[in-house]
Every structure is written in C-alpha cells, then in structure tokens.
Amino acid sequence: MNANIDATKQNTFDAIVIGSGISGGWAAKELTEKGLKTLVLERGRDVKHLKDYPTTNMQPWEFPHYGQMPKEVKDANPVVSKCYAFNEDAAHFFVKDQEHPYVQDKPFDWIRGYQVGGKSLLWARQTQRWSNFDFEGPARDGFAVDWPIRYKDIDPWYSYVEKFAGISGNKDGIPALPDGEFLPPMEMTKVESYFKEKVAENYKDRHIIVGRCAHITEQQPIHAEQGRAKCQHRNLCQRGCPFGGYFSSNASTIPWAERTGNMTLRPNSVVHSIIYDEQKGRATGVRVIDAETKATTEYFARIIFVNAAAMNTNLLLLNSTSNRFPNGLGNDSGVLGKYVAFHNYRARVSAEYEGFADYTKAGNRPNGCYIPRFRNVQKQETNFLRGYAAGFQAFRQVERSFDGIGADLKDNILHPSLGMWSVGSHMMGETIPKESSYVALDKDQKDAWGIPLLKISMDYDDNDEKMVKDYLEQISEMYSKAGFTNIQTFDSHQAPGLDIHEMGGARMGNDPKTSVLNKWNQVHACKNVFVTDGACMTSTSTQNPSLTYMAFTARAADYAVKQMKANEL
C-alpha cells in the first residue's frame, strides 16, 4: 500500500508533455520555465545535441555509397525511401516502414521520426507566418469550421517564438505573409533577383522573396545562451547541426528545459492512452508502455500537453477511451480523426535562362526563395477554392563532358564549366479538410505494444486537380514573361503524406459540437488536456506549418499556467 502511494507520488508531475518534436519541445521549455515539474515522454530513443549526430562531420566521400541508400534498405522500406532526405547521412533519424506499420486505406506516405527531437532534426526549416486571410479562410469560403482565433491572437506569439528560435528573413511588407522578428535575410542569386523584378513589373500582387527560415544568420544573446552559433551554410542540416545553426528541439528547447531542473525526459516511452477520471471530470495521467521492456507504468499530472505529431496525436486520443468518452478522449462531437488534410506538393515547373552568364553564387544556401499565395487572397477569383504558395530557386548548371577514354576522359570530367541558369519551382497547395478524409483505429491489427494500428484515408479532390493545373499555368506564364526558356511542367501524382505536412483531426473551433479543441488548444470536454501540434489545425493554408505549431504551443502553455495559478485547472 505504502509502496503504491510512493510509486504514485514518484510518478506524479505538474505537467506531462507527450512528444519531444518541434511542438513538444516548446511545451517542455515553456512549462519548465514557468516552474512546472514536467515529464516529457518520447516514444523513441534519446538523441542528444552534438553527441548523437554520428554523421554530422562526415565528408561526402566517407559515406560508403556517397550517400545513396543500399538497394536492400530501399526495397524493405518503400515508403520512407520516397522521402528526399532519406539518405545515408540521415537515414538513422527516420522510422523504417516495417518497424511501425500502419494501414493505408488510401495511399499515404507517412514519414516519421521517432526520437527525442522528432522531425525537428529533419525539417526543411521554412518558417512563414499565417495571415488573417488564412485564419478567415474557412468562414469566408464555407468549409471546415471557423477558426476560433484571428491573426491578432497569435501575432505576439509568433514574435515570441521567432526571437528564441532565430528566424532569418526580409521584411517584405506583403499582406498575405506578415513580417516577423527577423535576423538578416539570406541572399538571392542574380537570376532570382531578376525574376523578382520581372514578376513585380508584370503582376501587382505577386512577389518573389527569399525564404524565411529557422537559421541564425546573426547570433543574438538569446542564441548564445542556448549554445547556438551562426549558421555556417554547410547545408547538411538533416544530420543535426554541430553549430546549432538551425532550430531543432535537440539544439534549443529540450536542453533549455533541462537547464531549468524541472524536466524529466523519458525516452522509449510509448504512450498508450490518457487516463480519464470520471469522478474528477478530468484527465489524471497517462499509461506508458516501455518501448523496450513493454512494461506498463502510469504517470500523473495536473495538465497534459499532447504533441505526438498530428496523426499519432489522433491515434492517442482515439485510443484513450473511457465510459465518459467511449469514442476517444474529448470526442463528444464525433469529429475526432476527421477533417484531416495535407499540403499538395505534386507539381513542379523547371526552365532555363541564358542571361547573366557572368554570374554565379558562392557557398551553400540552406534555404530557397518563396512565392507567397497570390490566388483568391482578397476575394474568390478562380474556379477553385484557396490557393498555393511556391518554392523557387535559380542556380547555374554545372556541365561536363563524359566523353573519351583514359587521359581524355579524365580531362573532360575534371574540367566542368558553368552552363545556363537552371530555374525551378515547386507547389505548396492548400487542401480542404473534409469529413470523408479521416484517420481511425484499425479494428483488428495492433502494433508490437498492443496499440491499434492507425488507418489513414485521405486523397486529392477536384479542387486539388484544378489548383495543380492553375499552378502549372501561372508559373509557366511568369517564367515566360521573364524570358525563361525550355519551360517544363511536372505532376508527380505523389500520394498525400510525402509533403510531411499532415494536419487536423482534432481541430480547433468555437463550437464543441463540431470541433475538439477550443481557442486555447484545450480539449472542449476535458480542459486539462491541450493539443498543440498539427492535429489542432482547422485548415491548412499554404505556409509550412511548424512555426504556427510553435506559436500555438507557447500561447497555450502560457494560458494553461495562468489557469493553474488561478485554480481554474
């Protein structure tokens, strides 16, 4: 009896954070900084900054296959092998297909990173703010439900997280893409700047800007305090950065939380479910299965932050059943798991440019240029809803002849020259969350820890097809007006998922009958549970979402602690 009480006491914290990726790391930082004894649960292994980046200082020739994954690995892992970053230098940070199966009701390439830091080690680091046009979207265009917040609610929290994370960018003054707290922008190449000018000449509402990205381009005291230095432009980010040049949980929020002395980090902790106490009318803790020993332990806390990454957060809530919530925690509305969506990354347009043959670049830029959404921004003007942002870049081609044998061949391959400019763009389209797009627990199959497999069912629709067509036409037209030649359009028809921007399922909304979370990311019907990762997203807009998750998390943590102090939680 005493032993039980001791065990319970030992396993009781002020707060529990489920997940240590980009949003979980922020929850850990904010809650521990505010004095809460916080248990951070991570299903994967620990990855310590610097110490656990085994490839970070390897030269390209030190990789046995110069980076290429062996065929056996590719064959055994057809899903993750589709990801552009699944190469010899970073493969150890990706979930292998067979280790963590899931059910594809419709094709979905689910790319995951199960370790401390999650996918924050691997992300593409683009950090564009949402604007009010994005938050007003569902209400204006009549889909999903109205966002319970507007830009003004999150604006200060964007600033808050940007200053700490370190966001490089230019104040471009574009209504659809609000400016933030920027470190100096990265430079554009000659042809990128030229395209920017040409687009400005030809279109009053289209802009080419350098990407806003989570790289320290000028170290501020707050970055020095984190032990992070200026980005050295290695462009090897996916290995983990020895300089802490880009933002990751591992380099930034997790060690910060650790230094408060208030964090207990428990890797290899698979959260099975959230425990709901009917008498108390609140969640009291979580059931954890040790990833290695499979032993079950319960941990308790006054508040719980769910940051397991969008799809797994849905899985966890759906699997947290009780008499009060037979269909999943907080699922009175029946919408939990539904209205999931993603970003449409199917289309690309490439071209060439003959001018500026006397210019090139020097060094690497771990960033690209960005074309903010210009379709249907102020009002509906096309035959499809919403719009797309796009990536853009222009670099000189490197040409070399592979002709000859012996000394001739050698002479050819060792003397490359610069060719024409190679120009490329990729689409980032908003997709509409629909009731028919859902994730659910598989009725029969379970994983190695006895947790039901997640069944995923989402697809493109007619709106997406029209948007792809428009993107290809509009970018081609913009290229033509800039005098680019050899314009080629591509539609990869890739399945949803490879964008790695899956969102929704536990959406925010004003009405508990049609949404899972309120405007503070709090479960409507279970107020001491907060969901601040991608699962909370009511709509997707076009911007890379991580920055918004960070801001939501910091905002929700601030609210949660104030509520606790006021004895409201």
């Binding site: 085994p54 490839t55 200082n57 390897m58 030269q59 390209p60 020739w61 030190e62 990789f63 046995p64 296959h65 110069y66 290429q68 994954m69 062996p70 065929k71 056996e72 010899e88 230098d89 493969a91 150890h92 990265m186 430079e187 554009m188 190449t189 000659k190 990128e192 700047s193 050295q232 432009h233 290695r234 090897l236 006397d358 210019y359 090139t360 670049k361 020097a362 060094g363 690497n364 830029r365 000189r396 490197v398 592979f402 044998i405 012996g406 000394a407 061949l409 050698k410 391959i413 060792l414 003397h415 490359p416 020259s417 610069l418």
Partner: protein, 191 residues
C-alpha cells in the same frame, strides 16, 4: 551509419588500410580486399578491375583511379545498390571482358598495357567486340556500370573533391551574386 563503421568500410582506419596484393600469379587464389555481401569476387578479379579502372582514368598530373581505390567503390556500389540480375550480368560481363581482351591481344589480361585496355574500351563503346559464340552477351551490362561508377567514384573521391574542386564542408557563408569571367578557375566557379 556509425562513423567508425563507415570509415572501416572505406578502409580509412589504420587497421583496415588497403594494400593491394600485387599478386598476379594465376595459381594463387586470393580473396578480394573489399568486403562484399553478395558479389563473389576473387583477388584476381579485384586486381583486374583496378587495372581496368586505372586505364579508364589513368594517372596523369593527378592520381589515377587505382591509386584512389576507385575499383573498390565500383564493387561496393555494385554489391549494395544494384539488383541481383544486374550483379550477375556485371560479373559475367567482367569474365567476358577478360576473355575478349585475351582474344584481341593474344596476351593474358593481367599483362595488357593501359593502351591496350583503352583500345579495347573503345571497341566496346563502338560495338566492335563480337558477342560470344555461346551464351549471353553481358559485355555492355558490365562496361556501362563500370564506366559510370568509376567516374562517379573518382569525382566524389577525397582527392578530387578537395584538391581539384576545392570542396569545403563549411563554406561559412552564402554569396548570392558572384561575378565571374572566362578565366575564372574551377574552385571559384564551383564554390
């Protein structure tokens, strides 16, 4: 991939340093020095491949393929990154190449000069080597990946990346606009 494992596989750790056995005796059945999982390659075949790679990319004022162990990269890639059919044809094609150059020159393959190998490669590229009287013709199924992987291995080698192309893992910065002229050196244009 653990750094140490990777280095080991490349033979960059002292204990695993690669010293090519200069054994040309046909009788001495030696094992390949590079550790392979699927391909069955003898020491003689490895030496032969080294000779061929060095004829394809010879030493001039810069090292040739053999000195940089490019044949080992070729074997490692063929072993790990190609399917069983391609591997089978590659090995069969290697044997076929060996026989064909003997037929062409009347000398043992080991004794052929770089110039003889180069002339032989030219014949292969021109389609002048007759298919064997019996069995499959795998010469191109060997030669094409051999050529491609040798070039890739050579261009990606430490020597070439650092000494010829000036690769820097830590550029420190990015400059968007760099003016160049016709006389700009490689290290400038590839920076």
């Amino acid at each position: 991939m653990q750094r140490r494992t990777a280095l080991k596989q490349l033979g960059l750790i002292a204990g695993a340093a690669i010293i090519l056995p200069h054994c040309t005796s046909k009788e001495a059945a030696t094992e390949a020095t590079v550790k392979l999982n699927k391909l069955q390659v003898s020491g003689q075949q490895e030496n032969l491949l080294a000779t061929m790679a060095d004829a394809l990319i010879p030493k001039t004022d810069t090292p040739g393929a053999k000195e940089l162990n490019i044949h080992q990269f070729v074997l490692r890639m063929m072993d790990d990154c190609f399917d069983a059919d391609a591997q089978k044809k590659f090995m069969a094609g290697l044997t076929q190449a060996q026989k064909a150059i003997v037929h062409k020159t009347g000398k043992d393959a080991e004794e052929c000069t770089p110039a003889e190998w180069q002339a032989f490669f030219q014949d292969i590229e021109a389609g002048k080597i007759a298919a064997p009287a019996q069995g499959e013709d795998n010469l191109k199924a060997f030669y094409e990946p051999f050529r491609q992987l040798s070039i890739r291995g050579y261009l990606g080698s430490e020597y070439v990346m650092t000494n010829v192309f000036g690769y820097k893992m830590i550029p420190g910065k990015f400059t968007g606009e760099v003016k160049i002229d016709a006389n700009s050196d490689l290290k400038t244009i590839l920076a």
